[in-house]
């Protein structure tokens, strides 16, 4: 079947087989390799995408459910200044997520900061729990999120001023 969907701002007609998940379709048809699904059960979080503005595990979404929706993957948000803030925070706090979960962790933090500009510890823990990968220092990650929020607010505030 053909699924009409807007992916990263471009309208697409994507081929999909019955039983395919959204993540399969995005990887196979569009080679969006920031998605590296592992568990296919919504636990590892390495397949996070924005679907009509909401962050979802694309391994839990049947491909046909994506019909007429707008999907954003890491590839689309990578050049966003908010993502640059997160990457800078990773660098400063020397938090280095592995290449398999890096984009998913950035997606989760990006989502958190766009919803809650000044997140509390609980909000941060909840967001980071979306991605299960044992590669990085958990305290470093929490520090990185706090710093990313600070950098983001500083940048936005100074621009508005």
């Amino acid at each position: 079947m053909i699924i009409d969907v807007t992916v990263n701002g471009v309208p697409r007609h994507l081929k999909s087989r019955s039983g395919d998940r959204l993540v399969d379709m995005l990887r196979k048809e569009l080679k969006l390799l920031s998605l590296s699904p592992d568990c296919l059960q919504g636990r590892c979080g390495k397949c996070l995408v924005f679907m009509d503005g909401r962050i979802v595990h694309s391994c839990l979404v049947p491909a046909f459910k994506a019909r007429a929706t707008t999907i954003l993957t890491f590839e689309a948000i990578a050049k966003n200044p908010e993502v640059k803030d997160i990457e800078k925070a990773f660098q400063i706090t020397q938090t280095q997520p592995c290449p398999f979960c890096r984009s998913a962790k950035i997606m989760a933090i990006f989502d958190l900061l766009s919803r809650i500009p000044l997140p509390g510890e609980e909000d941060i823990l909840e967001a980071l729990d979306m991605v299960s990968c044992p590669c990085s220092d958990p305290l470093g990650l929490i520090q990185a999120v706090k710093l990313a929020a600070e950098l983001r607010n500083k940048r936005k505030f100074s621009r508005e001023a």
Binding site: D38, C39, T95, C98, D129, C135, D137, L139
Partner: protein
């Protein structure tokens, strides 16, 4: 490019496997053992480890062949429909009472007059401690991509040991090593799950590529990887101890059984490390050790984080706690009485020349964790409420351990590491080493070291890609080798360049290589491990655990670590590495025990059990981190100490001694109900 799916054995054990495949669609083909020259990849056990099993099936799920084709989904379907027949044999699953034919490796050693010391003992205690099978939970399932470029074979594969992979491929495919290029790909945290198994997958892809003449990619699904690839070996350690009226150890009679599953080429290393660790913390004048690597018809089992040492530390620490109970003493008191000190020796080796800081670590750890007060109060709570009916159930325990950063193996390739560095006229440093597959954190540490010695900018230091460093031999890149052996070699090469720098003109190069002493070179010939303790890093860990009253789930509340690891080059990197490893080690303690007979993907998913919100407080203190001298490894320390501490804390909380890890919530509730 062709995709490949693996045809697997449905039998646990059998001979003369035959694979029946219906007519394949156009573009699809099958490759079986009969299409390849008879060759074993690793000289493990009698028959070695084959690329595809045929004459002998050793475990259910063993690879028998590949289906190649342009669509991965269709390859999976075709591989699943292959019919496998064989002369089925009764599988050998029992390993604790094993037959002589199951012994893959045996090591025994004896020191002192054991029987005399047992006769002089006032207390004898004998217990068996069991450790389960754990998955490595690495980031990406096993896979390999192989293709031919004229006469050169290129293999892309996530491996911890590219040098060995190239050597094995050369033997299996009758190619010169110079005609094989291994491109190590990103690995994430592997916990030693990619030491040797990727070689089998890479060899299958390379053979398929050679036969088909096209690039071939094998990529396991997570389920396939979880069910059929290597895991941490399980163990049963029996300890019989004799001690005097104060609780001082006089005699230890130890039997270590490590179940290595169908095969493991590193079985001797597992056995040596376990035997070394079990006698490396406490002094005892008479010791006998019988250590075995035992085969059984299950998936290959092997290293995890600390190659066998975890099993041993878990057993000896649990035993010391039991001993304390027998004497009605504080566990810390019994341990302090027996801790190995400078000048004492293990196994008749010369007295340890280095200062063994265990005594200091033990004291500091008690202070920082408030151990004596907490231990006493939890004991009091338990005495007042033995059935734990009134609410919070907690326990605290501390353990000691070390990591050596060296291998005991007599295989020279296990211990050969080399580094070459060149400083050019623009003061840019190029470092060549196959170990450059290490993490970014490691590379940051190496850059910092080289920049300090040569007074150059860190940005001017780069590493040559590992595929271009084949001329420099390298042992496996485990958790500790990067920060110990390679770090030392980088320091050595940079110092050598620095010495010549103002006498000779640039560019300047220096090369350094290392080789650990062979076991046979030990002067006593008794105990190779004792010499290597001189370069160990030492650690004490305390863990505080609470048991959820409703579910029985053990929740780690806090972890304290006191570490003596020589000079700490980057404090931030060291702390980050230890905290990440601490979480992984804690997750193992509460993980599902992998049962080869009934495991499914749900067991894998159930192991994602330690959430960010369950994070314990982690306190880490280094002893004299700014001192001069060599840096030592720290990555394995949480893996060698936390399981033992976690288990002992759980024992105190439960008031029972289950003598096994892991323990799940349901089992804990049953134990509490039974009490």
């Amino acid at each position: 490019m062709l995709f490949a799916s693996t045809i697997r054995s449905p039998f646990h054990r059998g001979r003369n496997a035959k694979v029946g495949i219906d007519a394949l669609p156009k573009g699809y083909s099958a490759i079986l053992a009969e299409d390849l020259p008879r060759h074993s990849l690793f000289p493990s056990f009698k028959d070695g480890i084959p690329i595809f099993a045929s004459e002998q099936i050793s475990y259910r799920g063993e690879a028998l062949g590949l289906i190649l084709g342009p669509d991965p989904g269709s390859c999976d379907e075709l591989a699943a429909t292959a019919r496998v027949e064989c002369e089925e044999e009764e599988p050998e699953q029992e390993w604790e009472s094993f037959s002589s034919s199951q012994i893959a490796y045996h090591y025994s050693a004896e020191y002192g007059d054991l029987e005399k010391m047992f006769a002089a003992s006032s207390t004898e205690l004998k217990e068996v401690y069991r450790n389960g099978i754990f998955d490595h939970h690495y980031s990406e399932p096993m896979g390999a991509l192989s293709f031919w470029d004229k006469e050169t074979l290129s293999v892309h594969c996530a491996t911890q040991w590219p040098d060995d992979l190239r050597r094995r491929l050369s033997g299996a495919l009758s190619l010169s090593e110079a005609d094989i290029v291994v491109h190590p790909t990103e690995m994430g945290r592997t916990l030693d799950g990619r030491l040797w198994y990727p070689t089998i997958v890479a060899a299958q892809a390379a053979a398929a590529s050679k036969i088909s003449g096209k690039p071939v990619r094998i990529l396991y699904t997570r389920e396939e990887d979880f069910l059929h690839t290597t895991k941490q070996a399980r163990s049963a350690v029996s300890i019989r101890s004799g001690s005097d009226d104060q609780g001082r150890l006089l005699a230890l009679d130890i039997v270590i059984l490590i179940n290595i599953g169908a095969y493991n080429p590193l079985a001797p290393e597992l056995v040596y490390q376990a035997a070394s660790a079990i006698t490396g913390i406490y002094f005892c004048p008479a010791i006998r050790i019988e250590a075995y690597a035992i085969r059984s018809n299950t998936i290959p089992l092997g290293a995890m984080g600390s190659v066998g040492a975890t099993h041993a530390f878990f057993a000896i620490e649990a035993h010391m706690n039991n001993l304390a109970q027998r004497y009605s003493k504080h566990p810390a008191e019994i341990k302090a009485l027996n801790i190995l000190k400078k000048g004492q020796s293990t196994f008749g080796a010369p007295g340890l020349s280095a200062d063994i800081p265990l005594d200091r670590i033990h004291r500091e750890l008690q202070l920082v964790s408030d151990y004596p007060r907490k231990y006493a109060s939890y004991e009091l709570v338990k005495k007042r409420d033995p059935g734990c009916r009134e609410g919070i159930v907690r326990g605290i325990a501390l353990t000691l351990g070390y990591q050596t950063g060296r291998s005991f193996s007599e295989q020279s390739t296990m211990n050969s590491y080399s580094v070459e560095a060149t400083l050019d006229r623009e003061l840019k440093l190029l470092i060549k080493t196959q170990a450059a597959i290490g993490s970014e954190a490691l590379k940051t540490m190496w850059r910092k070291t080289a920049a300090e010695i040569l007074s150059i900018q860190e940005e001017h230091i780069r590493f040559l890609l590992p595929e271009n460093t084949h001329s420099l031999p390298s042992g496996p890149m485990t958790l500790s080798r990067g920060s110990t052996v390679i770090q030392h070699l980088i320091e050595k090469t940079c110092r050598s360049i620095q010495k010549k720098r103002f006498r000779e003109s640039l560019p300047l190069s220096a090369k350094a290589r290392t080789r650990a002493p062979k076991a046979s070179s030990s002067p006593e010939g008794l105990y190779p491990g004792a010499q290597l303790l001189d370069s160990a890093s030492w650690c004490g860990t305390a863990v505080e655990v609470e048991i959820d009253a409703l579910t029985g789930r053990p929740i780690p509340l806090a972890v304290w670590m006191v570490i003596d690891a020589g000079r700490i080059i980057s404090m931030q990197t060291a702390l980050a590495s230890l905290r990440a490893s601490t979480l992984s080690a804690l997750a193992l303690c509460t993980a599902n025990d992998f049962d080869p007979a009934s495991a499914g993907i749900d067991d894998y998913l159930a192991d994602f059990n330690l959430r960010m919100r369950d994070l314990p407080d982690i306190h880490i203190r280094f002893i004299d981190p700014d001192r001069n001298g060599a840096a030592k490894g720290i990555g394995e320390l949480p893996f060698v100490t936390i399981p033992a501490a976690f288990y002992s804390a759980l024992t105190q909380a439960l008031g029972l001694d289950p003598r096994q890890l892991p323990l799940k919530g349901g089992e804990i509730l049953r134990l509490l109900e039974g009490s």
